[in-house]
């Protein structure tokens, strides 16, 4: 059973090791990449089914009992994130087969991509705060190299800003972890969930919580800590942009959700109010930034920020329904955002440019691509029956239920402006005729030639439609995660054993005197 939980880390790690050893045979690296991604998808779906059937799964590394060793925990949220990682990983690797040139492949593109997946999955599955820091570094180092691989001037510029702000965030995270250890004497997250409420100096706990908020906030790209994202995400090749856009900021969002549901719920009035303000401002600045851009990848990069706002809104409202919305939103967003970048890459292949001014005539030349763009674009804007409609609907409803009218208004405005940005790309790249001075004339869809690019797009568009039309199972998974997030008891007791959560229950007085 423990192998199933560890396999989302082991498979990409083994794949990366093998591919690194055979670095001088690019073709072999591609094969290893595809095989590992397929295996990863199979095992992570199996893990999700297992978690859904049997509840939270725990593995204690090297059989050191918690809280002394490192625990790996898969609850619903972790398992969902691991499955999404596998889906995006597979799509990206297939897309890369055509999109990544020989030079980059030669310098270890596929092993690095697998290392990135290794780090991301580790961050999702670990139950130890310091271990989380280590996973962050694994995924960051892989992402640094992926972003700069190829060494074009925009890439170097973007990487510079991306690396330095992320290193600052990592250092801040390290200090916050150190202070947490100083207060409680433990780094196991389940143990922290029991011990943090018992710390007498509650002011210090809130201060450390704010440090975590800033450190994870930089990685998630929330207001006002997002400036690195639009400066860097459009610079690497499309395949790299897509996997970064889909996954990396969502690791930050995941850790924010984990930290502010499991660990820091002592002063919800302060921390979650702060999050709510950040959420509203993130949505607005992101979508307004996108409105000012006329380059496809830069529009999409700005939209990542505005969409992060919705997820943080769900966390900040901190009601069962809002958390369901947040988890559902992450599920939908990862698929759709990566897909839009993939479509952007095909637009570049067909028209020769990412600039909206220089593109055009795609609707006439390639109705297939037009449909494939409309699905994720309208899903992002939240049109029913596509996947974006449900989480937005749930979040609005959650906001109205707790009478946070302002945040709902902001979210609605953001939705409308998102539609504006998507129709801007539609009108410019697809609807209008081929402009004067276009880089090259558009000649059809070139499906046979570009099939490695089209297949991932179709795969992800299919998932978008399935989530939209057949939302019930996804909603159930999101509900199960939200229930686990709001009641830490199951999480704590699966890691530490029966009765471990009782000190907190005694403190809150909800279940006084119940013997384990």
């Amino acid at each position: 059973m423990s192998w199933l939980l560890l396999s989302p880390m082991l498979i990409p790690f083994l794949g990366a090791s093998v591919a690194f050893l055979a670095w001088n045979r690019p073709r072999f690296g591609q094969v290893v990449g595809v095989v590992s991604a397929v295996l990863l998808l199979i095992t992570s779906v199996a893990l999700l089914l297992d978690v859904h059937a049997n509840g939270i799964r725990v593995v204690q590394a090297a059989n050191w009992e918690a809280p002394f060793g490192i625990s790996f925990v898969a609850d619903h949220l972790s398992a969902i994130m691991v499955v999404l990682t596998a889906i995006i990983g597979l799509a990206t690797i297939v897309y890369s087969l055509f999109d990544i040139n020989r030079e980059r492949t030669y310098y270890g593109y596929y092993p690095l991509l697998l290392t990135l997946l290794f780090g991301v999955n580790g961050a999702f599955l670990t139950g130890d705060l310091f271990n989380l820091y280590v996973w962050f570094e694994v995924l960051l180092l892989a992402s640094f190299v992926l972003m700069s691989l190829g060494g074009t001037r925009p890439q170097l510029d973007g990487t510079l800003k991306y690396v330095f702000i992320n290193l600052l965030a990592s250092a801040l995270l390290l200090v916050a972890i150190g202070l947490t250890y100083g207060m409680t004497g433990t780094l196991n997250m389940a143990d922290l969930a029991v011990k943090l409420p018992l710390v007498e100096n509650s002011g210090l706990v809130t201060a450390v919580a704010t440090m975590f908020l800033i450190a994870f906030g930089i990685k998630a790209g929330i207001f006002p800590l997002f400036a690195w994202l639009p400066a860097s995400y459009h610079t690497p090749p499309v395949a790299v942009s897509a996997i970064f856009a889909g996954l990396l900021t969502k690791v930050g969002v995941y850790t924010l959700i984990r930290a502010f549901t499991l660990l820091f719920t002592q002063d919800v009035g302060y921390t979650h109010q702060l999050l709510l303000w950040a959420a509203g401002l993130t949505m607005l600045t992101g979508v307004l930034g996108a409105a000012a851009q006329f380059e496809i990848r830069r529009i999409l990069s700005w939209h990542i920020i505005s969409q992060i706002g919705y997820m943080i809104m769900g966390l900040a409202l901190y009601t069962p329904l809002a958390l369901v919305g947040a988890v559902f939103y992450i599920t939908h967003h990862i698929i759709v955002k990566a897909n839009l970048f993939f479509v952007g890459g095909i637009i570049k292949r067909l028209t020769g440019s990412f600039e909206l001014e220089e593109t055009g005539g795609l609707y006439k030349a390639s109705p297939l691509l037009a449909v494939l763009f409309l699905i994720p674009a309208f899903s992002l804007a939240g049109f029913p029956p596509l996947s974006g409609f449900w989480p937005k609907y749930i979040l609005f409803r959650a906001g109205l239920e707790v009478e946070s009218y302002l945040i709902v208004a902001v979210a609605l405005i953001t939705g409308i402006l998102t539609t504006f940005s998507m129709t801007k790309i539609w009108a410019q790249a697809f609807w209008k005729g081929t402009p004067e001075g276009a880089a090259r004339p558009v000649r059809g869809s070139r499906f046979r030639e570009l099939r490695a690019l089209y297949l991932p797009v179709m795969f992800l568009a299919g998932i978008t439609i399935v989530i939209g039309v057949y939302a019930q199972p996804f909603l159930e998974l999101a509900q199960a995660s939200a229930a686990e997030l709001l009641d830490s008891r199951a999480y704590v007791e699966s890691v530490l054993g029966e009765g471990a959560y009782d000190p907190v229950l005694a403190l809150t007085g909800s279940e006084l005197g119940v013997a384990p």
């Binding site: 310091f130 570094e137 001037r153 170097l156």
Partner: protein, 135 residues
């Protein structure tokens, strides 16, 4: 002891911030190397500074005889030092490559990825076109 270490790490943080606010990339990198050290010092202090025996257990015994020092913060710091060193090396190389390409150490004047006007953008396009080799 702890208060001295607390003041020292606070001072290093202040130096770090000062260096990082500089408009010279090299100073920023120096600040970065100081920053991880300040963080390590915080972990060390947070683990409580005690005068105690090393955490070694005599042969044949199952528990340590005397009160021992806390080994965990040292293990954490060791990990953090290794990671910090790797990141530092990467950022030095990155800063150097940027200097080679852009001929400046002032990050504010590097606008290739986010051009303010057309000339900035064209400067960045030169190498992309050359590097585009497909399999």
């Amino acid at each position: 002891m702890e208060w001295i270490l607390a003041i020292v790490s606070g001072f290093i943080f202040a130096c770090t911030l000062y260096l990082m606010l500089s408009r010279n990339l090299l100073r920023f990198v120096f600040g970065l190397s100081l920053l991880t050290n300040a963080g390590n010092l915080v972990i060390f202090t947070a683990g409580r500074v005690t005068r105690a025996a090393p955490p070694l257990i005599e042969e044949g015994a199952t528990t340590a005889a005397a009160t021992t020092a806390n080994p965990l913060p040292q293990a954490l710091i060791l990990t953090a030092i290794v990671i910090g060193f790797g990141l530092l090396v990467f950022s030095i190389v990155l800063a150097y490559r940027n200097f080679e390409e852009m001929n400046t150490m002032d990050p504010d004047s590097i606008r290739v990825a986010e051009p303010l006007d057309e000339t900035d953008k064209d400067a960045g396009d030169v190498r992309i076109e050359g590097a585009e080799v497909r399999t």
